[in-house]
């Protein structure tokens, strides 16, 4: 691939930015640590673990460390619950100087005592932050002792921030989830390999932002498939403990859940398939893929029927938005690869072109797919920074940026529209109705009269 000389871009960053050329064999540099001194949009191990586990609604999440880590993650996830709300509180050991000098184990043990006696949670997750990794608290031992004392799972999450990036935190969360499943080993008969068609499934990698998991659960119910465990959107401790009983895992956010899917495949013999419920095409494709796994003609027929009906329901609405959005250009900067892939397709479906696409923690195989579906000349970048974002948004003339909290004001300052496809999304964006919500939201921001007032 020809690398264009890029002014103002650091030598070390050049391999993380490409201008898409279809037939090139060369890969994008990704899954690497950020450069020291970068204004990275990335987060840390703790952040990764925390966002994955946070939606477990009836668990208490204790952050073991100084106050910051707990305070920054207090109820920011936007994951909705249908029942318990204890997860929306912020619990911390708020380590002080004395604890750092003499160790924080005693304080942690006392904190677990206080919370269990006060709130009798179903389980406790204890997150180790940076400092705990350095002062050497034996968090495992404290958890084990508490588990013995209270007979509930008290699970250590090894999430010291420096031990890698957010993706490493996803792994830490997956190990914690495996531990939770182990806790119930013996209570449930796990599914055995080769037992035939699946009976029920786990849904991995949806966090029920704006109630999205409820939409998908409803589709699945209509085609006759029930969900054993939701991991982790609107989930409960007991449900996750029962996850080994399922016979199929569907994985949406592969970035965060692929480890768990693989682990569960190895340990419990549960196969997995990747899905995405963002956009009409990906939703239809994913539903069919799930139905086919069941090898039941009735399920397949019901699925076809559902897709037909749902598509029909939204056809005229989408057509309306297509007219208003046709020819607009989009830039995408999101956390993981699967969402970027779906967004490219979704924009194309709306008659829009994706001119820039990047992720914080996309994996090599996902970048391959991105390159194969993105247009010639689309800028593709990994772990970028505001300077690069500004450069390519302006050069490529994007009309809208899709991103997360830190990207929003950047887009606005550039005088272009913005859509939050992260924790702050306000409407469900998945499934068929989500595709309409998405189009509506894009239209709302791109065609807002504010851009006529704003300078360009």
């Amino acid at each position: 691939m020809e690398k264009k000389p890029i002014v103002e871009i650091l030598e070390e960053r050049k391999n993380s930015i490409y201008f898409n050329i279809k037939d090139s064999k060369e890969g994008l540099k990704c899954e690497k640590d950020s450069l020291a001194g970068s204004v990275s949009q990335r987060a840390c191990v703790y952040c990764g673990a925390r966002v994955v586990l946070n939606p477990i609604t009836d668990a208490v999440h204790i952050v073991h460390g100084p106050i910051g880590c707990a305070s920054y993650t207090w109820d920011i996830r936007g994951s909705l619950t249908s029942g318990h709300e204890v997860y929306r509180n912020s619990f911390s050991t708020d380590l002080g100087e004395q604890d750092v000098i003499f160790g924080g184990e005693k304080k942690l043990a006392a904190a677990v005592d206080e919370i269990v006696l006060d709130m009798s949670p179903k389980a406790v997750f204890v997150y180790s932050t940076c400092i705990v990794g350095v002062i050497g608290d034996d968090v495992d031992a404290v958890c084990k002792e508490a588990e013995r004392k209270y007979c509930i799972p008290v699970i250590p999450v090894k999430s010291s921030g420096f031990a890698g990036n957010k993706a490493m935190g996803y792994k830490a969360a997956c190990w914690a989830l495996m531990k939770l499943m182990d806790f119930s080993a013996g209570n449930f008969a796990p599914h055995l390999k080769g037992e035939g068609a699946p009976v029920n499934i786990n849904f991995l990698g949806d966090f029920n932002l704006a109630g999205e998991i409820w939409i998908i659960t409803d589709y699945l119910k209509k085609i006759g498939i029930s969900i054993r465990a939701k991991v982790t959107g609107d989930s409960r401790v007991e449900e996750i403990m029962g996850a080994p009983q399922a016979s199929l895992n569907i994985v949406q956010c592969a970035g965060s859940m692929i480890y768990l899917a693989k682990e569960m495949e190895g340990k419990y013999g549960i196969p997995f398939i990747k899905v995405s419920f963002f956009g009409v095409e990906d939703t239809a494709l994913s539903l069919m893929r799930i139905a086919e796994a069941f090898e039941d003609i009735e399920v397949i027929n019901r699925t076809k029927e559902l897709i037909f009906i749902e598509k029909l329901k939204i056809r005229s609405q989408l057509a309306k938005y297509r007219k208003r959005l046709n020819g607009k250009k989009a830039a995408v900067y999101v956390g993981g690869g699967f969402k970027a892939i779906s967004l490219i397709r979704q924009f194309r479906d709306l008659g829009m072109q994706t001119v820039m696409v990047g992720t914080q923690t996309g994996r090599a195989d996902e970048y391959e797919i991105i390159r194969s579906i993105a247009d010639e000349g689309t800028v593709i970048l990994d772990d970028t920074n505001p300077v690069e974002l500004e450069k390519y948004i302006s050069e490529k003339g994007a009309d809208i940026l899709v991103g997360g909290v830190k990207e929003r004001p950047l887009a606005y300052k550039l005088g272009i529209a913005f859509c939050d496809h992260n924790h702050e999304r306000k409407h469900p964006l998945c499934g068929f109705e989500g595709a309409v919500n998405f189009a509506k939201e894009i239209d709302l921001t791109i065609n807002s009269p504010v851009w006529r007032v704003a300078l360009k």
Partner: protein, 453 residues
């Protein structure tokens, strides 16, 4: 969400539930953003920097730029010195700030990184500046971090070169850009030459100009920070956030320090203007006199809206102290005043003020919102004042809620408009009255719904 809160207050020794503070580095980052063309640098893991930028972005709704040392396992074991040196080199070469303001994190503090020696051995381009502040997250709060960074500015930059500049130094404290604008407006009205630091106006409330500016035009210039050592006096607003900086200036440059309350409310604003007037010999101009008169007029017009109402106030210490003084002057009863920031001075100060009112008041430093909620359940209040997280308590107890302080994540425009000065006091009265009257309207039976209130 708060259905678990028991009514009876239970003493906790180890667990913090729903904090009323966050950690030092974010305060240091906010202070550093108030230096012109400065890039704050977080010496720690990615996550710290990302979280701080996110919190500030959510509060100010403007881009927040900062770089990170991107710690890895290696850095945690062998020290972050080499990461810092690489970072300094990279930051100057790609982002080209005039000044880098480094703050530490719990991680780099615990492994014991020696920041000054890393700075000394770094390549710093001609004319560029690197300063630092130690901000261990396991001490104090974001207010301590703000204070430490302000102190760092003085330590590194301010010099008394024996050429008096006739100016006043103003340290505004951890307040919004809108407040900083108001403090500057008052100084201009007094025709007093001054240097205010830090100054985040035009950085975090910068106008839309159709392009992204890595360094918007606001912020205190490094040159002015250097020259601040030649000023006549330093007026520090808020002892928790600004006191240390002013005392450091006094110690290092022999510029006398005057530490006042954050000028929230009529008395604190009077004190501020009178102090400036006395220090400079400039009379308070008619413009400000007139505003004061308007404020008094409003206080008279509205006093029956809130007189005798019981309030719970939480947030940062300087804000709580000044606001408590103001609500007392409005005839309200500050029943509970709580901050997450540690400091005995806080409790003393609140107790002294409330002693004059003759009503009982609970004051707590290093408290959390779980405690405040328990108090509110035990004995209810009529109004809650604090940052966004108070909405959970307000909902659980069905109490009118005024959003003020930091952070405010679910409403906008607050960062553009002041709560300080006479103008700010008018705004506070408007917010408090409206909250109480809206509640009265909501709860009124049809026959009791009043047109004129």
């Amino acid at each position: 969400m708060l259905e678990h809160t028991p009514k009876e207050y239970v003493e906790r020794s180890a667990l913090t539930i729903n904090p009323a503070k966050t950690c030092q580095p974010v305060g240091a980052m906010y202070a550093a953003l108030g230096i012109h063309r400065c890039l704050p640098h977080s010496h720690g893991s990615h996550g710290c920097c990302a979280y701080h930028r996110k919190l500030l972005t959510r509060n100010f709704r403007d881009p927040v730029m900062a770089s990170t040392s991107s710690f890895t396992e290696g850095a945690a074991v062998f020290g972050g010195g080499s990461n810092l040196k690489t970072a300094i080199k990279n930051v100057f070469s790609i982002y080209d700030p005039d000044i880098i303001a480094i703050h530490t994190t719990c991680l780099s503090e615990t492994i014991g990184d020696d920041i000054p020696s890393s700075i000394m051995s770094s390549q710093i381009p001609e004319g560029k500046i690197v300063i630092h502040a130690n901000t261990p997250s396991y001490q104090g709060s974001h207010i301590t971090g703000f204070s430490n960074m302000v102190k760092g500015m003085v330590k590194y930059l301010s010099v008394n070169s024996k050429v008096p500049n006739g100016k006043l130094n103003i340290i505004p404290g951890f307040v919004n850009p809108g407040d900083m604008r108001e403090i500057k407006r008052m100084m201009k009205a007094l025709e007093v030459p001054f240097t205010m630091f830090p100054d985040t106006s035009n950085v975090l409330d910068a106008p839309m100009i159709g392009k992204f500016e890595m360094y918007p035009k606001g912020g205190t210039k490094a040159q002015d920070l250097i020259d601040a050592g030649n000023s006549k006096a330093t007026v520090a607003l808020g002892c928790f956030a600004s006191g240390e900086g002013a005392y450091e200036m006094e110690k290092k440059c022999k510029v006398p320090a005057r530490v006042l309350k954050t000028p929230i409310g009529i008395k604190a604003t009077d004190d501020y203007l009178m102090t400036v007037s006395k220090l400079t010999g400039m009379a308070v101009p008619e413009e400000l006199d007139e505003e004061r008169g308007q404020l008094v007029d409003i206080m008279v017009d509205c006093h029956y809206h809130y007189h005798g109402k019981k309030a719970a106030i939480f947030g940062d210490p300087d804000f709580c102290i000044a606001l408590t003084e103001f609500v007392i002057s409005l005839g309200m009863i500050p029943k509970y005043v709580l901050t997450g920031t540690p400091g005995d001075a806080f409790e003393r100060e609140i107790k002294t003020m409330q002693a004059d009112t003759g009503s009982d008041c609970k004051a707590k430093a290093l408290g959390d919102l779980f405690t405040l909620h328990q108090w509110m359940k035990e004995k209810p209040v009529d109004l809650l004042i604090g940052g966004t997280h108070g909405k959970y308590l307000a909902r659980a107890e069905d109490v009118p809620f005024v959003r003020m302080g930091f952070p405010i994540l679910d409403r906008s425009v607050h960062s553009y408009l002041p709560v300080v000065g006479y103008k700010g006091a008018m705004r506070i009265i408007e917010m408090i009255s409206n909250a109480l009257l809206d509640r009265q309207d909501r709860d009124a039976a049809d026959e009791d719904l009043e047109l004129i209130m």
